[in-house]
C-alpha cells in the first residue's frame, strides 16, 4: 500500500515546527511504528534526518509511544496504543497526519517526542504508600475482597502515556491522577494516607499547568487502557471531602 504522511517536524522546543510530507510504501501486516521505521530507513538512505518518535516495548505496556494519528491520540482503534496499531486498518492511497501530544505541561522535545516528566512529579507528590523496605507484615495478614482488588487493579493498569491529556480540550491530567489515587485509595494499605495523597497530587497537577476537568469525557474514550472516568468522579468526591472535612491540609506550592 502507498501512503502519504504529513508529519510534524520540530527541531526542539525553542524553534517553530511545521508539517512535512512524505510518501511511504507499506505492507498491511506491519505495525504503525514499523511503517515509520520503513520511512526512516529510506530517509537515512538519502542521508536525511529521520522522524523522531518515542517507543520502547512495542506491545502496549510501557507507555512510551505517543502520537496523534489523524486527530486521535494513538489512532483510530479503541483500546490500542500506537505501537499495537496495524496497517491493515488503513487504506491504500490514504493520507495520514501524525502529530505530537499537544499540551502546555508536555513541552515538545523533538518532532513527535514530548517531555512527560510532569507525570513523574505528580507521582512524587504522593502517588505511593509510605512503607520502607523490610517493614511489611505477612502478605496475607489483611484479606482484601476480590472485587475490590480487581477494581484497584483496573485503575492501576494506567500506562502513563498521556493520551488523556492530549485528547482533552483543557489538557487536563485528571484521568491519570485519579487512576493512581483510586488504585492506592481502594487498597486498605493505601487508605491511611489517602487524604494527604489526594490533596498533594491535585495541587501538583495544578502547579504543572494541566487544565481543569469540565467533564468532556474524551479522555476515557481515547485511553488505550480503558481507564474509567468513574475514577475522576471518585477523586472529586474525595478531594472535596478532604479539603472541607479533614484536619490534613496541604498548602499550594
Amino acid at each position: 500500500m502507498k501512503l502519504t504522511l504529513k508529519i510534524w517536524k520540530q527541531k526542539n522546543n525553542s524553534t517553530a515546527g511545521k508539517f512535512e510530507t512524505y510518501s511511504v510504501e507499506a505492507d498491511e501486516h506491519m505495525s504503525f511504528l514499523e511503517m515509520l521505521d520503513v520511512l526512516n530507513e529510506s530517509l537515512l538512505e538519502q542521508k536525511k534526518e529521520p522522524v523522531v518518535f518515542e517507543h520502547d516495548c512495542r506491545e502496549g505496556i510501557c507507555g512510551s509511544c505517543s502520537m496523534v494519528i489523524n486527530g486521535q491520540p494513538h489512532g483510530p482503534n479503541k483500546g490500542t496504543t500506537a505501537c499495537q496499531l496495524h496497517m491493515r486498518y488503513f487504506k491504500d492511497g490514504q493520507t495520514i497526519t501524525i502529530e505530537p501530544w499537544r499540551a502546555k505541561a508536555f513541552p515538545i522535545v523533538k518532532d513527535l517526542v514530548v517531555d512527560r516528566s510532569a507525570f513523574d512529579r505528580i507521582i512524587q507528590a504522593g502517588g505511593y504508600i509510605s512503607v520502607n523496605t523490610g517493614q511489611a507484615q505477612d502478605g496475607n495478614a489483611i484479606p482484601i475482597e476480590k472485587g475490590l482488588a480487581s477494581e484497584a487493579m483496573d485503575a492501576a493498569t494506567c500506562i502513563g502515556c498521556g493520551a488523556c491529556v492530549a485528547a482533552c480540550p483543557n489538557a487536563s491530567a485528571m484521568l491519570f491522577t485519579s487512576a493512581k489515587v483510586s488504585h492506592l485509595g481502594l487498597m486498605p494499605q493505601g487508605e491511611v494516607e489517602h487524604t494527604k495523597r489526594v490533596q498533594s497530587m491535585v495541587t501538583q497537577m495544578d502547579t504543572e499547568g494541566f487544565g481543569n476537568c469540565s467533564n468532556v469525557g474524551v479522555c476515557e474514550a481515547e485511553c488505550p487502557k480503558g481507564i474509567s472516568i468513574e475514577n475522576i468522579a471518585r477523586m472529586n468526591r474525595q478531594y472535596i471531602g478532604s479539603v472541607f472535612g479533614s484536619q490534613t491540609k496541604v498548602e499550594k506550592a
Binding site: H29, R58, G63, Q124, V131, A136, S150, M187
Partner: protein, 665 residues
Amino acid sequence: MPLKANSPEGTLDDKWTKYRSTMNLVAPNNKRRIDIIVVGTGLAGAAAAATLGELGYNVKAFTFHDSPRRAHSIAAQGGINAAKNYQNDGDSVFRLFYDTIKGGDYRSRESNVHRLAEVSRNIIDQCVAQGVPFAREYGGLLANRSFGGVQVSRTFYAKGQTGQQLLLGAYQALSRQISLGNVEMYNRHEMLDLVIEDGKARGIIARNLLTGKLERFGAHCVVLGTGGYGNVFYLSTNAMGSNVSAAWRATKRGALMANPCYTQIHPTCIPVSGEYQSKLTLMSESLRNDGRVWVPAHKEDVMAIREKRMSAKDIPEDRRDYYLERRYPAFGNLVPRDVASRAAKVACDEGFGVNKTGLAVFLDFASAIQRYGKTEAHSNGIHNPDPKKIEELGKKVIEAKYGNLFEMYEKITGENPYDVPMKIFPAVHYTMGGLWVDYNLETNIPGLFALGECNFSDHGANRLGASALMQGLADGYFVIPYTIGQFLSKEIRTPKINSDAPAFMEAEKDVDGRLKKLLSINGSQSVESFHRRLGLIMWEYCGMSRNAEGLQKGRKLIQELRAEFWKDVFVPGSDDEFNPELEKATRVADFLELGELMMVDALDRNESCGGHFREEYQSEEGEALRRDDEYAYVAAWEWVDGGDPVLHREDLEFENVELKTRSYK
C-alpha cells in the same frame, strides 16, 4: 585471576541469616556522607535505589528512559515466584532452591540460589504493603498459579501485567525517596563509561540525551541494574531500547562477563511476519497449560497450508504430529522452555513449518475448548448439549483464562485464535549470562555491583518462568542493601569523589572521541541495517543449536561486520542534540563486540546444557548431553581489545543437591 565466590561459612540454610547478622555496618551519620550511583531503574535498580535511599545513603539514579516507569520490566506478563506455600501443596524454600538449580541445569551457585529462595517470601510481603494489586481468591487471600512446569503453585500474579504492577510499586517507592531528597533522579541519562580510580569503581560518564552533553558523576561505589542483552539478536521479546552498553563498558574496563552464551529462547512467541519486523511478541507460557503443539505429519499437507489451499482445521487428527506429546509423554506440552523450543526448531528444520516462511508451528486450543465446554455444560445441568453449545461454553472458559493474550494475538496477526490455532515460534527472550558477581553481588572490580538480569548469578544455563522478577526484586530490596555495607564500611573515611580528577577527564575524553568518530564516518549504511545483520549471524550460529564449525565462522563474520560498521555506518545529526540514531549507534557498536564473546564462550563449552545446545553433544535421541566432570564451571571472560578473550573459571561445588540428567520423557 582466582575467582572467589565469597560465599559465607555455615550450612546452606543458615549462611545468609548468620552472615547478615555479622556483616559490617555503616553508621547512620556516615551513610549521609556516602554517595552511591545506581544505573538502571527497572525492578532491580529502582528497588535498590529506593531502599538505599531509605537507609540514608545519598543516591544518584540514572535511566536512559524518560521515566523509571518505562523500564523493560514493565512488560513481564506471567508472574513472580515465592516460596510462601500459601497453597499448602508442599512448597518450601528448599524446593524452590532445588527447582531453580535443577531448572538451570546445574550451572548456578548453590549459596546465591538458596538466598534467593529465602528472600522470595519477603518480596511478596513488601509488594503487598506497597499496594501492588495481586490477584486474590474469594476469601480475600492471595491467589497463585503454577508456571513453568513445576509441581507446585507458587506464582503470584496481577492479571497478565505482573511486571507492570511490580515495577510501578518500585517506581512509587523510588518516587517517594526522590520527593524526600534522598535520591536524585537523572532521567534520559545514558551511562557511556565506567570510571575506575585506584582499582575501585568511582563513577560514570553519562550523556544527557536531551542536550547531548557529557556529564561526569563520582560516588563511593557504582551499582548496575541495566537489564539483559537479548537484543544482540536484533529480534527478541525485549523492548527496543534494551542493550548491553553499561555492562559492556564495565567489561571493557576489566569486569568479567560470565556465561554470555546462555540465552533463553522462549517457545511461544508470535512468528516473524516480514523483513521489516522490529521485535517479537511473547505469548505467555501459561498458554501451554491448555494449548497443544502440533505440525502436519505429511509434507503435502504442509504445502497446502502454506499455499492457503487448506487450513489447520482441514487436517484430520491422524494426519497431525503432536510432537511434544509424542517425544515427551510424561511432560507433553509442558516440557521446560529450552526443550520445547528445540523441538519446534527440529520440526521446522525438517520442513514441517506451517507459515509461508516455514518457521511456525501450531498451538491449538480446540481440544481444550471441547473439554471445558463439556465440563461447563455438565455443571450447568445441560444434558446432551449440541456441539455448538459445547464450543460456545468452552470458548467462554478459554476467554476467562487467556482473554487478554488472545486479544493481543488477534491485534498483531489479524487471526482469531478461538477459531484457528495460533501460530507460534521460539524467540530470544532472556539472557542468563551477565557480569560475574560474588555472593555480595560485587563484580571483580571492587565497588562495582551488578543486580537483576545484568548479572549472571542465579539461573544457571536456563531460567524458570516467573523467576526473573523474583531475582530482580530480591537483589534490589533484600540483598544489596546489606551486602553493599561490606564494601562501604571500609570507605567511611574516603572523602567525596572528585569528578574533575584525571580518571574522570580521561574517560570523558574517550567517550567524546567515540561519539565524534561515529558521527564522522558518514558512510552509507544505517545503524539498523548493521544491527539486523548482526542478529542474523547470531541466530544462525549462536541460536537454538550451535556447533564448533558454525561458531568459528560466526566469530569471523562478526569481526568482519564490526570492521565494516566502523568504516561505513551512517549516523545523522550531531552530538549536541537529542539524537536517537547516535544512541543506537553506541549500543550496536557494543553488541558487535559482545556477539563475538558469545561465540567464543559457546565454543569453549563442549557440552549441551540448558539454553546452550551443542550439536556435537547430544544423546542418540537428540537430547542434551551435559558433561559435569569437565564443565561444571562458570566461564567468566576477560575481554581483550583486538585479542582473544581470556577465560577465568569459577568451579561450581554442589554440596546439597545431586547432579542428575534432566529427563522429561
